[in-house]
């Protein structure tokens, strides 16, 4: 059972939360302007990565706030929890790549 850090309440057991899928999926401003394929991409397609994954969690049996968790889908290790109104850091995987390029 995961131990999830609610940005408002602190660390709590997974049973207090509900999962909301991949984070950062923004609803298109003008759906009518999209092709069927573009709309399907927003509606159905998710990155489903092996490794770092940013996902929405809701503290459903607590403060009822939604927030973002970065979780490794292989190890379940959680890199951090972020409020929706705070700037998210560069993901661990991307940060690694940047460092490599920097070198």
């Amino acid at each position: 059972m995961l131990l999830i850090e609610c940005p408002w309440c602190g660390p709590r057991a997974e049973t207090e939360f509900s999962h909301g899928g991949e984070a950062g999926i923004t609803r298109p401003a003008n759906p009518d302007a999209l092709s069927d394929a573009e709309w399907a991409d927003y509606l159905f397609y998710r990155s489903n990565p092996r490794g770092a994954h940013r996902e929405l969690w809701n503290h459903a049996r607590g403060c009822r706030r939604w927030f973002v968790v970065e979780r490794d889908t292989v190890t379940n290790r959680i890199a951090g929890s972020f409020r929706l109104d705070e700037a998210l850091p560069v993901p661990a995987s991307a940060a690694g790549k940047q460092a490599e390029q920097g070198d």
């Binding site: 059972m1 131990l3 003008n30």
Partner: protein, 1007 residues
Amino acid sequence: MAAGQANRLPEGGRIDRSRPLRFSFNGKSYAGYAGDTLASALLANGVSLVGRSFKLRRPRGIVGGGAEEPNAVMQLGEGAAARPNLLATQVELEPGLAARGTRGWPSTRFDIGAALDGFGRILGAGFYYKTFKYPRAWWKLYEHVIRRAAGFGKAPDSPDPDRYEHRNAHCDVLVAGGGPAGLMAALMAARAGARVILADDDVEFGGSLLVGGDAIDGIPAMDWVARVVAELRQMPDCRLLSRGTVFGYHDHNFLTIAQRCVRESDIAAQDQARRPVAERLWRVRAKRVVLAQGAFERPLVFCNNDRPGVMLATAVSGYIRRHAVLPGRRAVVFTNNDSAYRTAIDLAGAGAEVAAIVDSRPGGAGAIEQRVKELGIPVLPGHVVSDVSGRRRVRGAGIARWTGEPWSTVEITLRIDCDLVAVSGGFSPAVHLHSQAGGKLEWSESQLCFLPAEARQSHDSAGAGNGRQSTGDCLADGLRAGTAATVELGLSRPEIEIPATEEVPAAPIEALWRVPAVKDADRCPKQFIDFQNDATVADIRLAVREGYRNVEHVKRYTALGFGTDQGKLGNINGMAILADALGKPIPEVGTTTFRPAYTPVRFGTVAGESVGELYDPVRKTALHEWHEAAGAPMEAVGQWHRPWYFPRGGEDLHAAVARECLAVRNSVGIMDASTLGKIDVRGPDAVNFLERVYTHNVGRMKPGRCAYGILLGEDGMVMDDGVMARLAEDRFYLTTTTGGAAHVLDWLEKWLQTEWPELEVYLTSLTEQFSTLAVAGPNSRKLLEKLGCDIPLDRESFPFMHVRTATLAGIPVSLFRVGFSGELAFEINIGSQFALDLWRKLMDAGREFDITPYGTETMHVLRAEKGFVIVGHDTDGSVTPVDLGMNWLLSREKDFLGKRSLARPDCLREDRKQLVGLLSRDGCTVIPEGAQLIERTGQATPVPMCGHVTSSYPSASLGHPIALALVTGGRGRKGETLFAASPGREPTAVEIVSPAFYDPGGERQHV
């Protein structure tokens, strides 16, 4: 000394000789002592046969001393208190304990299946797949036969009388296993000030020291254990759980421990609440975990190695030293490592004759060999036990020279009479929890075992479970792990010295997986790898010949490791022999996946207190007691209990519902609709927000106006529906379905928080705070007027689909002129604390109209007569509003959630299933809900289906049955005939009609 215990030693052991007790096995009475296990007591009484094998029905005896035992699987007690699938090696002996062997039906001694042994050749690997394949109709019979023959015991026949509980705990360091390593780790962490939980599955702490172990720090090993345990016990933040098996290592250092709390004999109270807790599930979140669960000794794989009397060497030592039981009089010790030499010494010390130590290693053992020779025990280095004789009990061992060639044939050069063969094939660390936690394993070529490697979570392994062998090494490794934990936790670490032990230099183990026999591996007598499933060397070779290469596939084909012991005894031998047969190194074959539970856990323990009344919360409305007093049967709708119907004088459901329906159509009915979800929405952006989520034009609604609204998922499918009302410019009141209330609130919150945080809107659930009384029928207005309402209720002042605040019988309420029945109706929203009072006043005032309370069933019929759908009943998540004929609800002027999806090609198909009404052609048959619709009868199977029935009821108002259905292209097919098919019935001819059966123009609700 209790009579009959022929194998009991006159002194020694950790049993309590002052507490003799009697128990029974397979109906026969025996004597034992407190401190015995069922296994040790059976051995003390010379019971060597405890069951028969799974497939071949071979006689089997006790092999091990703990969780690894494959054969002595027992059933305790009878009836409700029956407990199947317990290991005799782990059952504490108690007065009056009644055990039965579960393996071997109908009896352990005489077994019809034993004849199968002779047909072993046809029962090879994959025999389930090959034999029990055809004909298909016999599968059920086969399964029954297999289950019975397999003999896994009988489940209790009535509810478990035992009480269980769950406890949550947090700690800095959880130590799993209370042997030398675990004790040192716990001592270190506890002295450093950490909060410690130390759990061990045994009755006593000590682990391997209980069965062996010389002096530690100059005192007997168990005295040292007692000293450490006493110190830990008096520490305030240290919790010691004996009889506690850590069986699951889950994510984020969350571990589960099953702790046996009271013994069978202590359970007296019949009163459930006063019974002591039988077993407790600890749910522990630990910052750091030290795994010190020890190692399992491996058997050796030779011909007939399953004969009763072939036992693990450490188990033999354990029975002698811990239980004062001598399992045999004349023993052969067979080993490929030094450890079993100690067993030879234990046997000799207990008065048994050790005929020989057969050691495969040409150079024999290390320093311990000298001690053995001093006792006069002959050692045969470079030899193996190739075969044993005897059927119900070992009678002799056939010895051969070991050439180092496992697949060669050998000659028996010596036969030794014996009644016990103590074997040791080396040790496999108990890496189960490490592996469950995602840790990696690494093959050690020098120690011939998988060792825990890189950990994924915050844990560490120590002691024999980490490949350490001597007591001294285990103590040191435990101290190391305890120290690492304190460093990890940032605690200052106290100085603790490694306790002093005598070290005896050992010679290395030698690889000896399959022992050669007089014939080749496919023709020699059976060489067992997995005793529970009768998987043999020949089975693995057959699997390889038939093309299996992957260990997971071979496991499934041979059933290796699929017993209740999960292959604790046989898996490594099996993998090594598979690797050999494939010509691959062992690490390339790899190990299989370890999953919780480490040992079987009782269902009661998993359920804990969540049984009976506490299984699931029950939600009751404010009027619940009134409904119960009125004799209404209840229907569970999610967690809510709602009155189903209100029978009068012996009425059945059908009669009561017919009466209730007619009452609403002709006079007035009253229903408790309080379970509807209610959400208060307010804020300057409330309109803007609701425009985005509802499909209709919310902004056009004036305050005081109600509307029927639907919510779509972004995929365009109908998710929920309900009446929504605009109470003020910036304030709305939404209702949802009973089942959808929580989901809708969460979903609205999600959009607000994640997508539109700029909108200032506040959502509040009012479901519990307000009750809803639905008054429906042509006399409903008269009833409210009679009761005294402070606002005019006539059609012009208070038209259909409007809301007003009012006082009714002096009580403040909100009145909604809405309904689900198609009649003139009012829904009264009232603070829940006033609901019962108002309900009673309505019932009193309504007497002159014969006011009729009605339940969910009548509500369903009334709405079906009108063609109103129930989301989740007539829809299933693949139905769009267009499919339901609700195009009029879809605004063309704005975007809303799900709108774009309605233009996807799949949603535009002409042949989508659409809502229609159905009438039986014969005018009287009630079609079963769920019936499939077909075009015509007499078609060849598979018959194409063109829809299904979603709702179906007799209708008293209409005088004939009605049904709603989803039919392919149904709206354009009115007047056509279909057939409703369901199993066991003749298909019913039905006509497609409009779903609005009753008052299709809707005049009745507008009056």
